[in-house]
Amino acid sequence: MIQMMNDDKLIIGKKILKSRLLIGTGKFPNNKKMPAIIHAGDAAVVTVALRRANEHSQSENILDYIPDDVILMPNTSGARTADEAIRIAHLSKAMGCGDWIKIEVIADNRYLLPDNQETLKATQLLVKEGFTVLPYISPDLMTAKHLADAGAAAIMPLAAPIGSNRGLRTKELLKIIIDEIDLPIIVDAGIGKPSEAAECMELGAAAILTNTAVATANAPQQMAAAFSLAVKAGRIAFLAGMGRTSSIRASASSPLTGFLRKEAN
């Protein structure tokens, strides 16, 4: 089992991720508590809304609380169009935040559902500029395919609307994307419980991104640790190969293929 895990590397944008858990930062009660929570979850990547990065202020800057041993992935939260996302990505690079960027283009403030078309436009341009682009999308196979063709480093479809904690609502669509797209699929948004994270991993997701479920838990550190374990368990289960699930219904007393056996006699 240990050997299986050691050989199982997740590589995105030429970087080997130390785990398959990514953590968001937008809802924590105190930035100072973030390093301990991030470490408790053994998160490989931490995403920060650039709109909140505060480099010129006399007050605190969220970027100061991101541990050095994780990959920083700024996101374009607040962008309503491809153009705004692109400009935020440029600002991010100018601020020294590296070349990873999570594209979030949201022009719907009721449900915070992403605009797949604008996301694709931003991805196409930013990949050409050398960014490692991880686009956040509503789960749609053709969008995922076009994003892969455009050079996205991974695809981040949602399980349910952001912040809803409603769990794996888009399971069928996610499974299709996981099966058909040859890129890491990171399930982002909507995962409310560690068991749901495990289920995503059992389906074959490459990783999970969570924020609300951890940040709004009574004990965020413990919840981050629980997510870490769940993601690992789900991954091992996926690698182990899931056994067939049989129907709970009893076999029919008059089998439909019984006539074949009679014929053979």
Partner: protein, 370 residues
């Protein structure tokens, strides 16, 4: 399908008899409403009913749950900056009323820079600028010139001024204004007209349509509100909520927020028509949150510290600090102003209180992209 404008939308409710509706709401109706996942406008009105006063704790619990789910344990901080108080309007409840014999000022650009530097020192990276309505002293060009100056100090600039034309909102957005606050003050037209007897603000429809013009111009944030006390509060609360719902539905790309200001004493000698007590305010805020889980809810220093410290836990997402309602008040101190504030805590004091309550103060929530 959305109406052509909110005035048309509002007309659907012309024959709504609030008293009759409320007479049929029982505590059971309220409980049933609270068990729903998504609320209709009728459900919102149920939560505003007198019967719902018996369910305030349940409403507060649901409101807190929705707020934390959608906004986390974070609270945006902001402060107003009054740059001019000359005003041609005759609002009977306002200290800036044209007929009030107060000493008036209009900051020049150098004075605005000093005010901005003083505010920026607190760590705030966003600013809300306010003026009275005077085409002579604070025309659109003056406001937009101030905006240019303020870009050197802030990442996000919002305006709480008078109603602009569509062309002027377009110019404001082009100039890098990303937020606007516009209180209708009173949604009841008859009462509105009695409270606004003269000046450009007397035009009820032009003001009612202003938030929509700002949305059309591409403003990122639009904050609306009724001034509680000017009319029967439940009626005003209902129309404010459906105005926000209308805007949020029609302009999905705009972040819609609502303020819930209660009228405060000012230099104008005005006696409120309707008293809005603390229970009423809690009912209004929690009903809004449950009806519109994603809307911002803004709280000003019209409320006392003890009230504000509790309201942040049950629905508020944005709160002011270091407030002065006088022109140039961030430089020379507060010597009166538009109204009397009830919470004089500075930004650092507000931040300390927020941390103590388990909230992360947010000093910056947008980055101007022009």
């Amino acid at each position: 399908m959305s109406s052509e404008n909110f005035l048309a939308e509002k007309q659907f409710y012309n024959h709504l008899d609030f008293k009759d509706f409320f007479a049929h709401v029982t505590p059971q109706t309220v409980q049933q409403t609270l068990s729903k996942e998504h609320l209709t406008r009728k459900d919102f009105l149920v939560l505003l009913s007198p019967a719902a006063q018996d369910c305030l704790e349940e409403m507060a619990q649901r409101s807190r749950y929705e707020t934390i789910k959608n906004f986390g344990y974070t609270m945006q901080l902001f402060t107003p900056m009054y740059i001019a108080d000359y005003c041609d309007n005759l609002c009977v409840y306002c200290g800036f009323n044209h007929k009030n014999t107060i000493s008036r000022r209009c900051l020049n650009m150098d004075e605005i820079k000093i005010e901005a530097a003083n505010i920026a020192q607190t760590g705030l990276r966003n600013i809300l600028i306010l003026t009275g309505e005077s085409q002579k002293y604070s025309p659109v060009d003056y406001i937009l010139e101030a905006v240019q100056v303020l870009h050197d100090y802030f990442d996000s600039i919002a305006i709480e001024v008078y109603s602009f034309s569509q062309a002027d909102y377009n110019r404001a957005v082009q100039a890098g204004v990303d937020g606007m606050t516009m209180f209708q003050e009173c949604y009841n037209k008859k009462v509105y007209q009695s409270l606004h007897p003269g000046g450009p603000k007397a035009n009820y429809e032009f003001r009612l349509d202003a938030p929509e013009r700002a949305c059309r111009a591409g403003m990122r944030n639009v904050n609306i509100g009724a001034l509680l006390g000017l009319n029967e509060w439940r009626e005003e609360a209902f129309f404010t909520g459906i105005h926000a719902d209308y805007l949020q539905h029609k302009y999905k790309e705009v972040e819609i927020a609502v303020s819930t200001p209660r009228i405060c004493p000012c230099s104008a000698d005005y006696k409120p028509l309707s008293l809005v007590n603390d229970h009423d305010l809690v009912q209004y805020i929690t009903a809004l949150r449950i009806f519109l889980p994603r809307a911002g809810l803004t709280l000003s220093t019209r409320e006392k510290p003890q009230m504000r410290d509790n309201l942040i836990k049950i629905g508020i997402t944005k709160i002011s600090g270091g407030v002065t309602v006088a022109v140039g008040g961030h430089t020379k101190g507060d010597d009166g102003g538009q109204f009397k504030i009830s919470d004089e805590r500075s930004i650092p004091q507000m931040a300390k209180m927020l941390y103590a309550q388990g909230y992360q103060p947010v000093y910056k929530d947008w980055q101007t992209l022009i």
